[in-house]
């Protein structure tokens, strides 16, 4: 075996990010957080509680999640997705890629659909967050949730919360007159866009489904907008 020499490598942990604006705020070599408390008590508070004081690397934010105000001290590196899943135990929003490539983490922020893996939570103070857990009205499922059941619009279920939130957002966008790539350029501006199958497919194309439930998802959305 020929040795070609040696090389240092710290890229092993790189999960392929390397692009700007992807929500990763990890700073290798970041010094210990003086305000955060590195002892067991501090750690525990950072993880589970809201009592940890804000500091250089943590801030207090209030998110209105599914109608309930939640005030927490968040690590500045934390994205909304991880705050929902790890801090609030709302695991409906899924982590499929952590890079805004798959849509599994889609939730609604102030009514607009977003990839929650790309949004630093610290920037969302005061925002209204709706997750899949908040779609249902009391005990009754949201009509789209029922349509997904009726149409067998999922298999493994992992992309499903994102598909649902994305579809809710897409229907609202079309209602508000937002055009898509396949909208007739001659259509009147600002008027609701009718959602046929091609419009639905185009508008949901940010939500990947590896099980291949796409045709059933499109039918489910059609059921609801009819």
């Amino acid at each position: 075996m020929d040795s070609m020499g040696s090389r240092n490598d710290s890229a092993g942990a790189d999960d392929g990010a390397g692009r700007p604006g992807n929500g990763r705020g990890a700073a290798p070599g970041e010094p210990p957080d003086p305000a955060g408390g590195t002892g067991p008590a501090g750690r525990s508070a950072a993880r589970h509680g809201t009592s940890r004081p804000p500091g250089r690397h943590h801030s207090e934010v209030t998110l209105r999640v599914n109608g309930t105000p939640r005030t927490l001290t968040v690590d500045h590196r934390s994205v909304l997705l991880d705050v929902l899943r790890e801090r609030l135990d709302l695991v409906g929003a899924k982590k499929g890629c952590d890079h805004g490539q798959c849509g599994s983490c889609t939730v609604l922020v102030d009514g607009r659909r977003v990839n929650s893996c790309l949004l630093p939570a610290v920037a969302l103070d005061g925002c209204d967050i709706t997750t899949v857990e908040g779609l249902a009205d009391g005990g009754a499922p949201h009509p789209l949730q029922q349509a997904f059941l009726d149409r067998d619009a999922f298999q493994c279920g992992y992309c499903t919360p994102g598909q649902l939130c994305s579809a809710v957002g897409a229907v609202a966008e079309a209602e508000a007159g937002h055009p898509s790539l396949v909208t007739d350029p001659g259509a009147p501006s600002g008027r609701p866009v009718p959602l046929g199958p091609d419009e639905i497919r185009e508008r949901l194309s940010g939500n990947l489904c590896r099980c291949g439930a796409y045709p059933n998802i499109v039918r489910a959305v059609e059921d609801v907008i009819r």
């Binding site: 993880r47 982590k95 890629c97 298999q155 992992y158 185009e202 489904c209 099980c211 045709p215 059933n216």
Partner: protein, 701 residues
């Protein structure tokens, strides 16, 4: 169907559906056990060499970091049957992305920062990751995947080919492909009170438990592995993968519950891939299309640590009658990550080659592609000589042609245009073997009139709970809503994995047998049931794995209509239709979803999915979902899946064949053949991306 309306075959709704649409279904990384911490792996950034030193000091000084495991101090494992699981055991780096350290921290952010701060020094060696047909390292293995002999030869295929009236001699290339289930591989491990509890994203928790027991030298009885909800696998979770070993190591080291969720970018190197296959296909036929010789030669790669040979020539053994036949595999060990199962290993790439070659033969002989296949229908399995237990390929082709409107097709290539679009249609056959393994199950009649069946089946999205409840209700002769199916834990009676399109047959057989016994107990019982109810057990060892005198395979036919844009080079699928003969369909709703889902993956294989092993870096270039293009909504038309009622008494008590994989098998060839019909150009390398299409349109290939 039983007169109680228990509805085996009916489109029963998924039992876990409500949990999945409301977000309450929890997957392996979502087990928020008190005190749970996170671990983040460090993957090698070199392709071949050894670790000289690892500096963990910076990482350990970061807030929240609890431990950094390396080969120096990670728990010692017992020798692993699967070398890909021997992580953090020595200095060797056999391929890019091999795990060299694991950082455990209180939070995800802290674990990720810790992993980024680990410094690794390597002694780097030259690597070779490039597969070629004439690679000097190529050899013919004894077996290909699935225990299939690597080489089969009957008659005098070379001589018969040389003297055939019509000859096709073509080479096809399929790149590495990645499974990419939507849920990345994840495990949560917890050591408590002498027991080890592991939530693993796996296609089979029974094997995970056995493997962990062996590696960590623990009694199986002290381990529980739960795979309650699994976000897809497509083969990549078929056996334990390194993440679960890392999670257990971290839990043992720290005494805390630990979750390891692999970052998407690390999956291609760590969890297996479909190996690239280079095919040479030669078909010799008489002028009337009757095959006289068929030669399918496959070259593929494997890693240096594990021999995995994609059995791509195997489907050519059973598809068509030809007196002279050769099927052979050669494999080249390279410094690449270990390949493994991806949906229909063998059949998916192999049938792309065979069915493309058949289309070329149809053109060469002037026969209709459907008729050419019918002309070459064998009476018995051409390889083994056994009779088929059932084979309705011709019916699938004819039914598909009728539904698709095939009779209206103008066979001339490039005969249909719409402005800048070329329009074409194509057909391909599909097949997948019937596999089944022994399982155990229990059935329990409760005093309140309800029933419970228990078996460690796994629902990876197929609807296993639902179909097993249907099988049980049918065998018991009771309404479906009175039966509960418990699956997804190694504490249940052991059962094989959800894979090889064998899950439902294997589990269902045991459930059926347990329920049949329970029904007999109930029939003999008088008066109210005792407080504990009545129980029956089944173990299908000896029956499910008994050999068969029949060749048992599912068959299908795929039809596609595509447009080829002469300006952009984009191929779009307008229509995709499959007709299957797969025994008795046990749940019309979930079966249809599996068929169209697999056809969607086949569409990706044809048009968008492809990975490149970069010669310089030794890594896959397309290793995330931004660069590896799985089909999206806009790529997928309204897909049709149909089936033919097949009554086959030689399978299992339900009369079912597997349905999870056959949908992908012929799809890529049907689309490729449609592109040829549209454009008049024969493309022989997948995927059919716009650059390749434009290049082909610009000149003869």
């Amino acid at each position: 169907m039983a007169d109680t309306g228990t509805a085996l075959g009916a489109p029963a709704e998924r039992r876990e559906g409500r949990d999945k649409v409301t977000g309450s279904a929890r997957y392996a990384a979502e087990q928020n056990i008190p005190g749970r911490v996170h671990a983040w792996p460090v993957a090698a950034g070199i392709t071949r060499g050894t670790i000289r030193a690892i500096d963990t000091g910076t990482a350990l000084a970061l807030p929240g970091v609890l431990a950094v495991l390396t080969h120096d101090d990670a728990p010692r494992l017992a020798p692993a049957d699967d070398p890909t699981l021997a992580v953090l055991q020595d200095r060797r780096v056999p391929h890019h992305g091999w795990f060299v350290a694991l950082v455990v921290a209180e939070t995800l952010e802290e674990a990720r920062a810790g992993a980024a701060a680990v410094r690794v020094e390597y002694d780097v060696e030259e690597h070779d990751v490039t597969l070629t047909e004439d690679h000097p390292g190529a050899y013919t293995p004894e077996q290909a995947n699935g225990g299939n002999p690597a080489h089969r030869e009957q008659g005098h295929p070379e001589e018969a080919f040389a003297t055939a009236d019509v000859r096709v001699d073509a080479r096809y290339r399929i790149p590495p492909l990645h499974n990419h289930p939507m849920e990345p591989h994840a495990a949560t491990a917890h050591r408590s009170g002498g027991r080890l509890l592991v939530h693993d994203s796996s296609q089979g928790a029974t094997t995970v438990r056995a493997t962990l027991a062996s590696l960590f030298r623990l009694p199986e009885d002290d381990i529980t592995v739960v795979s309650e909800h699994v976000g897809g696998g497509f083969g990549s979770k078929g056996t334990p993968r390194p993440h679960v070993v890392l999670a257990v190591m971290a839990a043992l080291r720290t005494g805390r519950p630990v979750t390891v969720a692999l970052p998407r970018r690390l999956l291609p190197d760590a969890v297996g891939h479909r190996a690239p296959t280079l095919h040479r296909f030669r078909l010799g036929a008489a002028a009337d299309g009757t095959l006289v010789s068929s030669l399918h030669e496959v070259t593929t790669h494997t890693s240096r640590i594990k021999e995995f040979v994609e059995q791509a020539a195997v489907p050519s053994r059973i598809m068509y009658a030809a007196p002279h036949r050769l099927t052979t595999h050669r494999v080249v060990p390279l410094d690449v990550p270990s390949p493994s199962w991806m949906r229909a290993p063998g059949e998916a790439p192999g049938m792309y080659a065979l069915e493309s070659a058949m289309d070329e033969l149809a053109v060469a002989t002037g026969l209709d592609p459907v008729e050419l296949r019918i002309v070459n229908e064998p009476d018995t399995d051409p390889d083994s000589g056994k009779p088929f237990s059932s084979r309705h390929l011709i019916e699938c082709l004819r039914e598909g042609a009728r539904r698709f409107g095939w009779a209206q097709r103008d066979p001339r290539p490039r005969s249909r245009t719409e402005g800048p679009l070329l329009v074409g249609t194509g057909v391909a056959s599909a097949t997948y073997p019937v596999m089944v393994s022994p399982a155990r199950a229990s059935a329990h009649a409760l005093p309140d009139g309800r029933f419970a069946v228990r078996i460690n089946a796994t629902d990876i999205g197929t609807g296993a709970r639902t179909v097993l409840a249907q099988i049980a209700a049918d065998a018991l002769g009771v309404p479906l809503d009175r039966v509960r199916a418990e699956v997804g834990s190694s504490d249940l009676p052991p059962a094989p994995l959800a894979g090889g399109s064998s899950g439902t047959a294997s589990w269902g057989w045991a459930v059926h047998e347990a329920c049949t016994r329970l029904a007999a107990l109930l029939a003999a019982h008088t008066g109210p049931l005792p407080d504990g109810g009545l129980r029956a057990h089944a173990d299908t060892a000896g029956s499910a794995d008994a050999g068969s005198d029949w060749a048992r395979h599912a068959f299908g036919a795929h039809f596609a209509e595509v447009t080829v844009d002469t300006v952009s080079g984009e191929v779009r699928v307008r229509r995709l239709l499959g007709v299957y003969a797969a025994g008795r369909i046990l749940n019309a709703r979930t079966a249809r979803s599996q068929f169209i889902g697999a056809m969607t993956m086949g569409l990706g294989m044809a048009l968008t999915e492809g990975s490149t092993m970069d010669a310089a870096s030794g890594d896959f270039v397309e290793s995330d979902l931004a660069s590896y293009h799985v089909p999206v909504h806009a790529d997928v038309p309204d897909i049709e899946a149909h089936w033919i009622d097949e009554d086959d008494p030689h399978l299992n008590p339900m009369g079912s064949k597997g349905i999870g994989e056959i949908g992908i098998v012929g799809t890529a060839a049907a689309i490729g053949n449609a592109v040829h019909h549209a454009a008049g150009v024969r493309y022989r390398e997948l995927p059919l991306t716009p650059d390749r299409v434009l290049e082909g349109l610009a000149g003869p290939l």
